[in-house]
């Protein structure tokens, strides 16, 4: 066995220096000179005797996955474990442990460590994706039957909670208008703040702004809602409206836009700014025509994340938009509805047909955000720095 390379990387120099301990740990490979290369005087030469290494076959990871799943299911069934979650956890643990053990025996310590890290990454990936996939699956499976043209184009006006029928047109309209208004307020302010922080901001003021943006990121949505409620509705005396909701949403949206845009602008190489300035282009035009277009892809992604966040907000909507069963296409006056609020209301009714409507509306909300996302990505790709020859 050619374990020499492993000694170079797999163990600390302290263990490596002791030689024989390492040999035992590596599963009885020939010790002494063979392991550690040739000795010349007192200096050890770490050059390996051969460059080839025993490798696990390519199907090994797949076999390990299948095997550990089998073990998980088997222990689950034999041990009488109810929860599938436990089966999965056992399988995951067995997979990580078995991969490490098998690789240690066949390939050696360094590769085993490598595979251990890789299997942990994969396991975490699966653990992370499972809830997401099941959430999507559940929403689609339960929501699809309720979604129809009628559902999308009618309101709940005159429909009682236990009755079938009704629709989400009023809520969809409310969400679109509120999100749009919030974006119109928050995106320009957020972008300009980020431009200020990256391109102009120096010293105290910039640090203060950064600090308050960070603080704003942590504002709970209900607090933003209460703030607008006390300012806009109680102090200034305006009534409930989609616009009041949009104000609260824009407070939630702004810091996310600022933060993500700031990071993206920082990634634009200073060389590009200098190249533009050296052509005699004024700074504001450099920012507008060179810096922003270069970062547009990342900025769009950040804005979309912010949009997705506020499109699902319920608390400020309850406080400020109030909710309504009727179509109100004027966001500046009177109560409106929105998709998350609609889901909440329907769920609270607790009747069969209301549940169906809630699931269908949830599906529409997810689809709405996804479509927005795809459109934004399309724009970003169309505008982003071009590669290729």
């Amino acid at each position: 066995m050619s374990d020499t390379v492993k000694d170079l990387n797999g163990r600390t120099p302290a263990t490596a220096a002791t030689g024989k301990d390492g040999a035992a740990a590596d599963g009885g490979s020939p010790g002494g000179e063979g392991r550690n290369g040739k000795r010349s005087g007192s200096t050890r030469v770490l050059r390996p005797a051969t460059l080839k290494q025993p490798r696990l076959p390519r199907w090994a990871p797949a076999a390990l996955v299948a095997g550990s799943l089998g073990v998980g299911v088997l222990t689950g069934v034999l041990g009488g474990l109810e929860s599938r979650l436990q089966w999965g956890l056992i399988a995951a643990l067995v997979f990580v442990a078995a991969t490490f053990a098998v690789t240690t025996i066949v390939e050696g310590r360094r590769q085993a460590t490598d595979r251990l890290a890789a299997s942990l990454v994969w396991t975490s990936f699966v653990v992370a994706i499972l809830p997401l996939a099941s959430l999507l699956w559940e929403t689609i499976a339960r929501g699809i039957p309720g979604v129809s043209w009628y559902f999308l184009t009618h309101s709940m006006n005159g429909v009682l909670s236990w009755q079938e029928g009704g629709g989400i047109y009023h809520a969809l309209l409310g969400t679109v208008q509120q999100v749009l208004l919030a974006s119109v307020i928050a995106i320009p302010i957020g972008l300009l703040t980020a431009v200020y922080l990256v391109e102009y901001g120096r010293g105290r003021l910039a640090k203060t702004i950064t600090f308050f943006v960070d603080v704003m990121t942590g504002i709970p949505s209900i607090v933003a809602g209460l703030f607008v409620l006390s300012m806009w509705i109680m102090m200034l005396g305006f009534g409930y409206s989609g616009f009041a909701g949009a104000l609260a949403l824009s407070i939630l949206m702004m810091p996310i836009v600022v933060r993500s845009t700031e990071e993206m602008l920082k990634l634009v190489p200073g060389e590009l700014r200098e190249a533009s300035l050296a052509l005699g282009v004024p700074k504001w035009r450099t920012i507008l025509k060179v810096v922003l277009p270069t970062a547009i892809g990342g900025i769009t992604t950040g804005v979309m994340l912010a949009l997705a966040r506020i499109a699902g907000e319920t608390a400020p909507i309850i406080l400020l938009v109030f909710g309504s069963n009727m179509i109100n296409s004027n966001p500046f006056e009177g109560a409106q509805s929105s998709l998350p609020l609609f889901v909440y209301e329907q769920w609270a009714f607790g009747t069969e047909s209301a549940y169906d409507r809630a699931w269908a509306a949830a599906l529409v909300l997810i689809a709405f955000i996804m479509i927005l996302n795809l459109v934004a990505r399309g724009i970003a790709r169309w505008k982003a720095p071009k590669t290729g020859r």
């Binding site: 060389e271 052509l279 060179v290």
Partner: protein, 258 residues
Amino acid sequence: MAKRIDVTGLTAFYGAHRAIDDISMHVEPRSVTAFIGPSGCGKSTFLRTLNRMHEVTPGGRVEGQVMLDNEDLYGPGVDPVQVRRTIGMVFQRPNPFPTMSIYDNVVAGLKLNGKFSRAELDDVVEKNLRGANLWNEVKDRLNKPGSGLSGGQQQRLCIARATSVEPDVLLMDEPCSALDPISTLAIEDLISQLKSRFTIVIVTHNMQQAARVSERTAFFNLAAVGQPGKLIEIDTTDKIFSNPTQQATEDYISGRFG
């Protein structure tokens, strides 16, 4: 078009750090002036003070006088943007705008500063790409992104971009240090052609290059790390390379230090 530059008592700072100290020299029009010297001696800083790019760096500050023909670049009421339109710059690393095509890169300086007709722009693109010896290589793919070109081509594209605004002076900050010998040769040929139209100042670490392309050479040095860089001497390139007045110059050129 090409103009003469007279520098008197120029000192540049980065914050409190004095980067170059009390430099005076003149640069002849329609010729190439090379700056040589060890790393950190302030060649690039000095070059950047010549088109007011130094002050773009946070903390960058300049004292002294730079006369372009009869106008002081650091005089009151002088707009740095106008200075940079008059004195163009090519950087060490090729930096074409990644969002723009080859065509748009060449005319970026024009398009970002005003309105031009398509026919005008077409002329400018062809003239400057020909001037940069790049036309034949890219004429069939002007609408492809500039970042798809090789390093040497990108640098020539950047030179075309710098010349397209018809500056009086062209500053080059080690324009060949990221390029292979063949691309370097192409750029050097280009420099000798461009000097009929522009005043050129080039910073280089390559002394053969200074000897090949320049009429006059300035040698910069610094007493020790952390000390400000100083101009040791400036003279015709022949004189500097064959019979310099200062011992330090001779030591540097003959490779005895630095």
